[in-house]
Subunit: 337 residues, 3 copies
C-alpha cells in the first residue's frame, strides 16, 4: 500500500486537515499508531491517544472538537469507523491475490459442474453431482459430498467438510475445519436403555451472504432442512443442531449452541457461550447477552436478555447485584429475629 | 422411495385406516406434510396439525381418538415414533450407496491389515501396524496413526484424526474433524511459574456402538486409557479429557466438557454446555440438565441435576424462581425495618 | 521399556527401599498398579492404594511414614510427582520414533525455506514464501498459507490449518484440526440491519514453547497481531478472538473463550468453559475457576475469581451457599410478617 493522505481522503470522501501530501503505507490502531500509518478515532474513550499517536494520519469525526494540538494529519468524515472500514475493504480488494484454476492435485468426480473462474486447491475432493458457481474458491483439503450445490463468489477455506445434499448460496464464506451437514444428534431410546440412531435424511441450506467461523458445526435435518438464512454471521465453534432455522441477518458469537428444531428470528444478536434449548422460537431483533441460557420461547421482539434461566437483561443485572448483597440480607434477618 | 401405504403398514406392522393403495415418495414432519409424503404424530402438542396436514399418510397411535375428520390415510401402531424411526431406517438401508475399495489416492503404509469390503477414501493416510475390520468405511482426508485398531462396520467421516494406539470397536461412527487421542492437557508447573509438558503415554479405547459428533475431542490418557464405553453417544464439539471413563449407553449433548480422570456412570443423560470437574464420579442414570456445572461427585443414582454448583434440578428451579423475587424480598426487609 | 528399579532410581536420583534388581516394563496409576510396573504416590488421598498395589515399584516422598507394610519396592525422592514426570519424559525421549524427510505426497510451493531434519507428512500443503526451522515435524493433511514462519522443534499434528502471515516460534505444539489465523468476527452493522465484513488484515503471532489443543481456534487480528505469548498452554476447543493478547505462561483449559482485544496477563490460570468479554485487561496471576464469566477488567493481580458476573471466588461460593438457603429465608420473612 502506498497512498497520499489526499488520495485516501478522496476514497473515503473526507476533508483533510494538515499536510495531505504525506505517504501512508499501513494501518494501525490509534494506540499503536506508527509513522507512515493511518488510524481512526471512533470511540470517545480512545480520544486521549489522538494527541499522542505517531500515526501520520487519523480519520476523525467531522464534528470532533480538538482539546489539544495533534501531530497527525486529520481526515474528517461523518462516520470515522465506517470510513476506515471502507478503506480496509478497498485495500483488501486491491491487494487480494486470488488463485484460479483447478489444482492437478484435486480430485473431482464425474458429473461435477463448475462455473467460470473458480479455484480448487490441492488435495480437495469433490464428489459426484456437485455444482459450483462462478468465481468460487475452494481451498486445500476440502471434502465436498455428493449432490452439493455451491453458488457464486464463495470462499471455502482449508479443511472444511460439506456433507452430501448441502445447498449453499452466493457470497458465502466458510472458515477452516467447519463441518456442514453432519448427522443431527438423534438417537431413539430403546426399552433396555440403549439408543438406536435415527436416520438423518434431511440436509443443510445456507443462503446468500452467510459467514461461518472456524470449527463450527451445522447439522443436517432429520427430515427437511436446517436453514442458515441470508446474511447470517456465525463465529467460531458455534453449534447449530438439526432442523434449526437461523433467521436472516442474525449474528451469533463464538461457542454458542442452538438446540434442535429451534427457530431464531431475523436480525437477532446473540453473544458468545449462549445456549438455547430445542423446539423454541426466538422473536426477531432479540439481543442475547453472553452466557445466557434460554429455555422458553421469546415472543416479544427486540428484547435484551441475560441470565439463566433467561430474563430481561436489566432485571438479570439487578438480581446479580442483589445476590452480591445476600450476606447483608441474611444478617439483617438475623438481627430482626 | 416409492411404496404404497399398505406396503409401509406391513413393514411397521400397523393397521391401515383409509386408502392404502396410495403411493408414498417421501417423509415430512406433520406440520410440513405434503401430498405424497408420510408423517407421524407422537407428541400430543402437535395433534392440531393432524386435521390439517396434506401428508398422504400419517402414523398415529392405536388408541388415538380423532377429534375431527382427517384427509390423510392413517396407519395405527402402538408407538408411532418408534415405527416411524424403523421406517426411516429401512429407507436408509435400501437407499444407502456404500462405496467399497481402497482409493488409489489413499496412502496405506506397510503392515496394515484390512478386512473384507472396506472403503478407504481419497487422500486418507493410514500409518503402519493399523488393523481395520470388515465393512468399515473410512472417508476422505482421514489420518490414522500407528497401531490403531478399528473394528467392523465403522464409519469414519472426512477429516477425522485418530492418533496412534487408539482402539475402536465395532459399529462406531465418528463424524468429521473429530480428534481422537490428542495429548491430555497435562503440564507440570515448575518453580518459576512456567510449565513442562507431562508425556501422555496412554491411549483412547472406544467400545462398540459408539457415535462421536463433528469437531469433538477425546484426549489420550496420561497412563492407561481414556474410555468411551459401549453404546455411548457424543454430540458435536464435546470435550473428553484424559483418563475420563464414560459409562456405557450414556449420551452427552453438544459443547459439554468432562475434565480429566472423571468417571461417568452408565445410562447417564447429559445435556448441552454442561461442565464436569476432574477426578469425580457420577452415579449411573444421572440426568444432567443443560448448562449445569458439577464440582462434586454424585453418589446417588438416578438424580436429575441443574444449576452451578449443581443441585437437585427441582431445587435449582425453585431457587431460580426465588432469585427472580429477590427485589421484592429486599423491599419487604426494608419495610419491616 | 525395560529397566531395573535401581536404574530408575539413578535416573530420578532416589533412594531404593526393597529389591532394586527387579525389572520394570511399564507405568501405571497406583490404583491400577500391576506387576512389572512402576507407579507414584503424591496426593495423600491415594495413600491407601500404596498398601495394596501390585506395582513392582512405587515412587514416594522421602519423608513418608509407612502405616503398614508394602509389597512394592519404594524409591524415595523429594517430590514424587516431579520425579515421575521426569521418568515419563526420559521414557518418551528414548522411545520416540520421529520421522524425518519430506513426503513425496506433500506439496511444497516455490520459495519455501526449510531447515535441517524436518518432517513433512503425506498430503500436506505448504504455500509460497513459508519458512520452517530445524527439526520441526509437520504431519499429514496440514495446510500452511503464504508467508507463514515456523521456528525450530515444532510439532504440527494432522489436519491443522495455519492461515497466511502467521508467525510461530520454537518448540510450539499444535494439535489436530486447530485453526490458526482465521478471520476475526468483525462485521460492521449497516443502517438496514445487515452486516458488512470488516477486512481482517492482521496476523497471529505464537511465541516459543506454546501448546495449542485440538480443534482450538485463534483468529487473526483486524490490524496488528493476535498474540499467544511465550509458554502459553491452550487446551482443546478454546477460542481466542482477534487482537487478543494472552500473556506469557498462562494456561487456559478446554472450551474457554476470550473475546476480541482482551489482554490476559502473565501466569494466569484459567479453567474450562470460562468466558471473558472483549476489550478487557486481566491482571497477571489471576486464577479463574471453571465456568466463570468475566465482564469487567481485573486490575489487582493474583486474585481467584468465580461466578457470573465474576467476583472473588470465596465470595461466589458463599453466595452460592446462601442461594441454596433462599427458601428458608423467604420462609423466615413470611413468619416475621
Amino acid at each position: 500500500m502506498k497512498f497520499t493522505v489526499d488520495q485516501i481522503a478522496t476514497i473515503i470522501q473526507g476533508a483533510v486537515e494538515g499536510d495531505g501530501t504525506q505517504t501512508i503505507t499501513g494501518f494501525d490502531k490509534i494506540e499503536e499508531g506508527k509513522s507512515g500509518s493511518i488510524s481512526f478515532l471512533s470511540n470517545p474513550k480512545y480520544e486521549a491517544y489522538l494527541y499522542d499517536t505517531d500515526a501520520t494520519a487519523v480519520i476523525v469525526a467531522s464534528d470532533l472538537v480538538l482539546k489539544s494540538p495533534v501531530k497527525s494529519t486529520l481526515i474528517r468524515v461523518k462516520e470515522p469507523y465506517v470510513a476506515f472500514t471502507i478503506l480496509l475493504q478497498k485495500y483488501q480488494e486491491m491487494t487480494a491475490e486470488r488463485e484460479t484454476g483447478i489444482s492437478i492435485h484435486a480430485i473431482i468426480e464425474a458429473g461435477v459442474k463448475v462455473g467460470q473462474s473458480i479455484f480448487v486447491g490441492r488435495f480437495t475432493f469433490i464428489d459426484s453431482h456437485v455444482s459450483i458457481g462462478n468465481s468460487t474458491s475452494i481451498h486445500s483439503h476440502v471434502s465436498i459430498g455428493k449432490n452439493v450445490h455451491i453458488g457464486d463468489n464463495c470462499i471455502i477455506y482449508p479443511g472444511v467438510v460439506i456433507y452430501k445434499d448441502t445447498i449453499i448460496g452466493n457470497n458465502v464464506v466458510i472458515h477452516s475445519n467447519a463441518v456442514i451437514g453432519s448427522d443431527g444428534f438423534g438417537h431413539a431410546p430403546q426399552s433396555d436403555g440403549t439408543y438406536k440412531a435415527i436416520p438423518q435424511l434431511g440436509n443443510v441450506v445456507i443462503e446468500d451472504d452467510v459467514s461461518i467461523g472456524a470449527n463450527s458445526t451445522v447439522d443436517r435435518a432429520t427430515m427437511g432442512s436446517t436453514y442458515i438464512r441470508k446474511g447470517v454471521k456465525l463465529d467460531n465453534l458455534v453449534q447449530i443442531a438439526h432442523n434449526v432455522d437461523v433467521g436472516a441477518h442474525t449474528a451469533i458469537a463464538s461457542q454458542t449452541g442452538i438446540s434442535g428444531s429451534t427457530k431464531i428470528g431475523e436480525y437477532c444478536l446473540i453473544a458468545g457461550q449462549v445456549g438455547i434449548a430445542g423446539h423454541l422460537t426466538i422473536a426477531p431483533k432479540t439481543i442475547i447477552t453472553g452466557r445466557t441460557g434460554i429455555t422458553k420461547s421469546i415472543k416479544e421482539a427486540g428484547q435484551t436478555l441475560g441470565g439463566y434461566p433467561a430474563m430481561n437483561n436489566a432485571e438479570f443485572l439487578k438480581r446479580s447485584a442483589l445476590i452480591r448483597r445476600l450476606p447483608e440480607l441474611f444478617e439483617q434477618i438475623k438481627n430482626i429475629k
